[in-house]
């Protein structure tokens, strides 16, 4: 498992890969490597996406941000807070290929344990693995644990538990700490995840000799430093008597003393205090584990969603063809709507060719049936809705496009296109659901970042099209419409989010005109720049002779401009143009002329 460098968006959020979705965000999170805090990585946002766990520091995010691919994560454990210690989630890496985790391979199957017991590498262990009856009798991984949902104590998986045959009726031992029987699913999940994470016994067997040599070396070195034969617990480090097979303190299984200590010792020897000397941890390998410390709550949801993401394994689905809709099997008719199965691999079954009106009607009917099916499936429960979100969004867009075409012929086609496209492009949608309840500030700051990204996205170029300036109300309307009526943002939230831009140092800024009109601008866009633009324009007008003869000396005074002309020239909205002109007037650059033609602005020749 590696800390990977992160690409950040303009709003300093991790840039998502295609198909990647944001699952959860939590602020005030610290990062640990093993047991040690990583300096400079102690206050930031943790982003859980369907593919990664990302950390982005609050201070200097461009420098201190890392991501871990979920596919390299073996499991995540939850650790509740205790007095001053914040709740933590520990992420364990998957064993690397060609560098198998010794402790696990030694116990994962009877074949291996026999191997290791025969091997001279474990002489210090008085009780070879094969001597433990339950281990030889069960093909299951013995050091798999399930975490009690009541007291969060890590219990060993019962030896007779077989995820393949077990049912809800299977007898489960109660939690060792609190005595409450666990829910069947908890144990089942633990068993499956443990089984899934182990390598095949064969490959590990092949690799064993070399490792055990190392193990032996380490073991012998260890013998000199620690009381002979004692076994330190891999979980709590309590040094147990060698004859114990389970830790006295925490109940974790003590695998053959030699190897377990060896592993611990080896990683320590390699990196005693892993990252203290380095300022950047990008691309460093994590050998032991990574902890996320949640100083401001949110750990439960994060853990839940992380587990969910690990089970769903969305990263495997990248570029996979979509699940063929069941309607295809039911009806011999072809799947007509492109949205339901756009890249359906199998061609349609023999097609009943109907022509004319009957054919059109049939097509319509099929489309409706299919839409119904998609909607019906999706809304069965929330999980299903999330799974088929893509389809539903596509469907919603099609419906919106159709209805838009039908009803408002007046609206420009371009606007409609932008609106319907933007929902798809609006990749990282911040919703309240993504954040733990009650963290209003986090919601606002995420929304603020979301907005900033939306604005600065070059694909849409919202700001460019509006001439670099846009009124907040227009933005609110466009933004909410681009969400297709889901998870709409309230005006007050929107304004508060926009007001956060300055604080979060985002590349857009909110500006209040004298009249109270709020506009959105790029942060590097200042009044001086606008004034310079206007002055350049005035200068230009002074050089170009006017279309019709004018009574004044145009080589000196130039020509007057109206707000409409200004709006046209700079592609601003008229309201914004009027405000900008008045701003320039306020600075004494322009002056006004009120006449029967309306309000016009001139270069200021009065004050000069």
């Amino acid at each position: 498992m590696f800390f990977k460098s992160l690409d950040l968006t303009t709003a300093l959020r991790p840039l998502l890969l295609p198909d990647e979705t944001l699952l959860f965000v939590q602020d005030a999170v610290g990062l640990y490597e093993g047991k040690y805090k990583i300096p400079d990585y102690q206050n930031g946002h943790a982003y859980l996406t369907s593919h990664r766990v990302c950390y982005v520091a609050a201070e200097d995010p461009r420098k201190y941000s890392v991501g871990i691919d979920l596919k390299e994560i073996d499991r995540a454990e939850y650790q509740a807070g205790f007095f001053k210690s914040s709740p933590k989630i520990t992420i364990y890496p998957k064993p690397q290929k060609g560098k198998t985790d010794k402790s696990r391979s030694a116990t994962s199957s009877p074949a291996v344990s026999q191997q290791s017991s025969l091997h001279p590498g474990n002489p210090s262990s008085p009780r070879p693995q094969s001597a433990v009856p339950q281990k030889s009798s069960s093909p299951k991984p013995v050091n798999a644990t399930w975490i009690c949902p009541i007291c969060s104590f890590s219990n060993p998986l019962p030896s007779h538990f077989d995820p393949a045959t077990a049912t809800a009726a299977t007898q489960l031992p109660p939690c060792l700490a609190c005595g409450i029987k666990p829910p069947f699913t908890t144990v089942l999940k633990a068993a499956i995840s443990a089984a899934a994470s182990h390598d095949s016994p064969l490959s590990s067997t092949n690799l064993l000799p070399a490792e055990d040599n190392q193990a032996q070396r380490n073991g012998s070195r260890l013998g000199s430093s620690e009381p002979a034969g004692s076994v330190s617990c891999p979980r709590c480090t309590f040094v147990n008597h060698p004859s114990l097979i389970e830790c006295e303190m925490c109940g974790a299984p003590l695998i053959s003393g030699g190897t377990s200590i060896t592993r611990d010792d080896a990683s320590r020897a390699n990196s005693p205090a892993p990252f203290f000397a380095q300022s950047r941890i990008t691309n460093t390998e994590v050998t032991e584990s990574v902890k996320l410390s949640f100083r401001d709550g949110g750990e439960k949801t994060f853990h839940e969603r992380l587990k969910g993401a690990l089970i769903q394994r969305k990263w495997l689905l990248q570029n996979a063809p979509p699940v063929p809709p069941p309607s295809q099997t039911a009806a011999a008719s072809p799947s007509i709507p492109a949205i339901a199965a756009p890249e359906s691999p199998q061609p349609a079954a023999p097609r009943i060719t109907a022509v004319g009106i009957a054919g059109l009607e049939q097509r319509g009917l099929e489309t409706r049936m299919n839409n119904q099916l998609v909607i019906g499936n999706a809304f069965e429960d929330l999980e299903a809705l999330m799974a088929s979100a893509k389809q539903i969004v596509a469907l919603a867009e099609t419906l919106a496009r159709e209805s838009g075409m039908a009803t408002n012929g007046g609206a420009s086609a371009e606007t409609n296109a932008v609106l319907s496209e933007s929902a798809a492009a609006l990749g990282m949608v911040t919703t309240k659901d993504m954040l733990s309840s009650g963290s209003e500030n986090l919601y606002l700051s995420e929304l603020s970042r979301n907005l900033a990204e939306y604005l600065t996205d070059d694909r849409k170029g919202i700001l460019q099209r509006e001439g670099g300036i846009m009124s907040l109300i227009d933005l609110w309307a466009v933004f909410n419409r681009s969400r297709n009526g889901v998870e709409l943002v309230s005006p007050s939230d929107f304004q508060r989010a926009a007001e956060l831009w300055k604080k979060l140092k985002l590349p857009v800024r909110l500006r209040r005109f004298k009249s109270g009109l709020l506009v959105v601008q790029r942060y590097d866009w200042s009044d001086e720049k606008t004034v310079r633009q206007l002055q350049d324009w005035m200068e230009e007008l002074r050089r170009v002779p006017p279309d019709e003869s004018v009574p004044w000396d145009w080589t000196v005074f130039g020509r007057a401009v109206t707000a409409q002309e200004t709006a046209q020239r700079f592609k601003w909205s008229v309201g914004v143009a009027a405000e900008e002109l008045e701003m320039a007037e306020d600075r004494g650059v322009l002056c006004r002329e009120e006449g029967i033609e309306g309000l016009r602005f001139w270069n200021n020749h009065i004050a000069s």
């Binding site: 005074f557 002056c591 020749h605």
Partner: protein
Amino acid sequence: MATAASTAAPFPFPSTYNFPPFFTPQPNNTTRHSQLQKWSSLIQAWCRHHRTYRLSLVDAVDTPLFHNAVLRKRLDLGEARAIVDWMTKSEEQGGGGQRAEWIVGAAAGGNAAPNSVAWIWWRRPEEWADVLTDWIDATGQRGVVLTVFELVQGEATVSQEFHGMDVEVMMKTLNVLVKRGKAQVFGNDGGEGVKFF
């Protein structure tokens, strides 16, 4: 009393007079201030050119002073009043240095509206007093008794700037000199005489 006599040379208007925004009150304080200043000097120059001492705004809004026929722009009465009002204030009050003074109760042409006629002080009475003293000194007329009519209309003063001056302005000027102890005014209505010391 608006334009006393159309002299041969046309009045040279400043360039801003042809600038359309000049006729619109500017909201920006700095711009407004220089606009008022420009108007003030324009009015003073105009009055000096036409030897006008007393300016009736109601009549003046139709004169080229306030009406630019070429631009088809005019200063409306309210704005003209605002400018003259600014001129009446001293500079400490944020005004134009008391270059004008409202003539209270003056019913010019039967129009009894308040603030419609004003003295335009292209020279203030104090300044006129200086001019008068200089002339007296230069011609050695100290201790000589002159009538006001002689001063204003007399042949001896034809070359002087105050020749043809409004009698009321002359009286104000002489009053300044009396306060300074440089002159004594005697006689009564219509036949005042003045003795310079």
